[in-house]
Symmetry: D2
Subunit: 197 residues, 4 copies
């Protein structure tokens, strides 16, 4: 396989990228100056060298220290832990600017096909909740879809068994900002009515 | 203006219809059999003759009796009243199959430009809540947008003044079914965190 | 069936309208003033009374005279006839402002399922071409899809049999305005290459 | 700037990629095995080492020989040259399977802002047409947009001056496959009528 096809095939594995856009990426790199290609090579190699996984929350970061900036920050609330599926979900919550607790990245959601939790950091999460004595509540911040719900059920069981005193909550369900009732699905309206306040 | 243009102009006033689709409606009627056009004329005239507004909830209906089927239904829960902006929102909640209380159609939302409640059935709503003695809670079921929120604030004030003992709630806010955290806006994530449970 | 449901069902038969939008149309009419509903009734009745089909080109029009304005216009080129599937396609060509010939509305395209031309005005078209002595060319202006192509093949056969001297052409195929080669389908690129000039 | 931000910024320069998707690419690489990152580094470096520009048509390729496979292929028709803006447009024509001539990649289109042809391989194209004695026709295969049209005008002038005997054609314009007349723009309908056949 020649380098053009090889790189095209590789870009097709990037999330959301089809053959046509993969081909366009390769053309972009071919047309770019050598310094752009070198920058890409350096940055990808840099990921391997300077990015590490935080041993506390398991997100990827590039701090000099082992722990990430969020885990090292002493002003965050130790009593609250948001358990999220991915680094992207952690960023989404941080961007909202409304959460000041700690995070734990589970590494995915339960697959509905297999119902297995292999690959998820369940043991590490259990260790986190037992070793952080100030923790009083874990918020299961998973997506509002069947995979997220299945994950919440399983993680709740695991945490209750491990630490019965821990309060476990889930993100509120209801109308999302901007929703019209007319276009809301039945399940969302049910949640909005059940969670009225 | 010839009848084709006149009818096209009229269809352009229908919600969500532009000139091109309005023209297509006219072509459809031109190609249709006379019986289809007669059926349309009869149905529209029928609206005027047999459709009435329910004197209790103010939605439009075509029951033989003055009251609509929902207001006449003795199995609905008299203690709960959903105050909705429109007939369409009432239908959306009914379709969800999760609500068994009563309804009141306010007739719109506060316009943010004018902040006026003219055109809304505020006096009628006050009369409803004072005259239905079993009522204990009013759910302000408005859309999750600035107009809906402004309406809720004003209606809450009016109802509290009228009947301080009445519990007033709003539809729950949070992740709607199917939402990914990554794509949720900051306000929705804030609500989802605030309303965790 | 009550008038609301009856009218909703009727609007669902309008082109491109689903149950939800049909319901919104009915709500719109319910909320509208009686004069809007009367205007709709009058306009639809007006269609039946003052709209007629042109005996020459078969499009619908509302001129006082039997013939439509285009057929009555003496400045149009009698030597050229555009055969179109529908009134909407006739309007599209008129709007482009680049055609000064005559029109004939065939009333549809061949269905690929049945391959039948029933319902199409084939006999009337044959009569048109034999009775208009100045006519030298018929442009088969059908959509560039399989139905349009099948219709062109059949109509070409019929016209050649009827009037062998008549020149028969089809709309040019190739890149439409704004097309990028990268996104063009193979068939369009083939036509663009074949029809290069 | 840490490696995560640096790589995100770099991916944002890829065609069609915004900050969110750029972030997702980085997460994908972080979650991937080291071998995937190494493969990416190798492939990008491979582009620089084994990809060359064909000295005849100027497209990028990875053949062992200097000339690309298309230029080396003796079965292609030497009398016909498709002048295209980019490698992607060359691929699009090849994919259509309907062209057997030669190619020349101009390297872009005229910018409407500057109307300059700097950066385009005009001198190289002139040299191509004078040095290939079997060539009889150049097809200006540019996109059907204002930039493509401006480029065609300028290149036509240059080629006519250089080699007056050369036939110069453009891709056919008209309805693209699947087009309905109703949705076609006026310019496309004009071309379809002008190019009827």
């Amino acid at each position: 396989m020649d380098p053009i096809e090889r790189l095209t095939t590789l870009f097709e594995r990037f999330p959301g990228i089809g053959p046509r856009q993969a081909g366009r990426f390769v053309q972009f790199l071919l047309r770019s100056s050598p310094s752009v290609r070198r920058e890409l090579v350096d940055s990808v190699q840099g990921l391997a060298h300077s990015v590490r996984q935080c041993p506390s929350c398991f997100r990827y970061h590039a701090s000099e220290s082992a722990n990430c900036g969020l885990c090292a920050n002493k002003n965050r609330d130790d009593s609250l832990l948001a358990v999220v599926a991915s680094d992207a979900d952690l960023f989404a919550i941080e961007r909202s600017g409304t959460y000041n607790g700690r995070y734990f990245v589970l590494g995915g959601t339960v697959s509905l096909a297999s119902e297995k939790m292999s690959g998820l950091r369940v043991a590490q999460l259990k260790k986190y909740v037992t070793s952080h004595k100030n923790l009083t509540e874990a918020v299961l911040a998973f997506p509002a879809n069947p995979e997220g719900d299945a994950t919440a059920i399983r993680i709740r069981e695991e945490l209750q068994e491990e630490l019965p005193a821990l309060k476990i909550s889930m993100l509120g369900r209801g109308l999302s900002t901007g929703s019209e009732l007319e276009y809301a699905d039945a399940d969302t309206l049910k949640n909005a009515l059940d969670n009225r306040k």
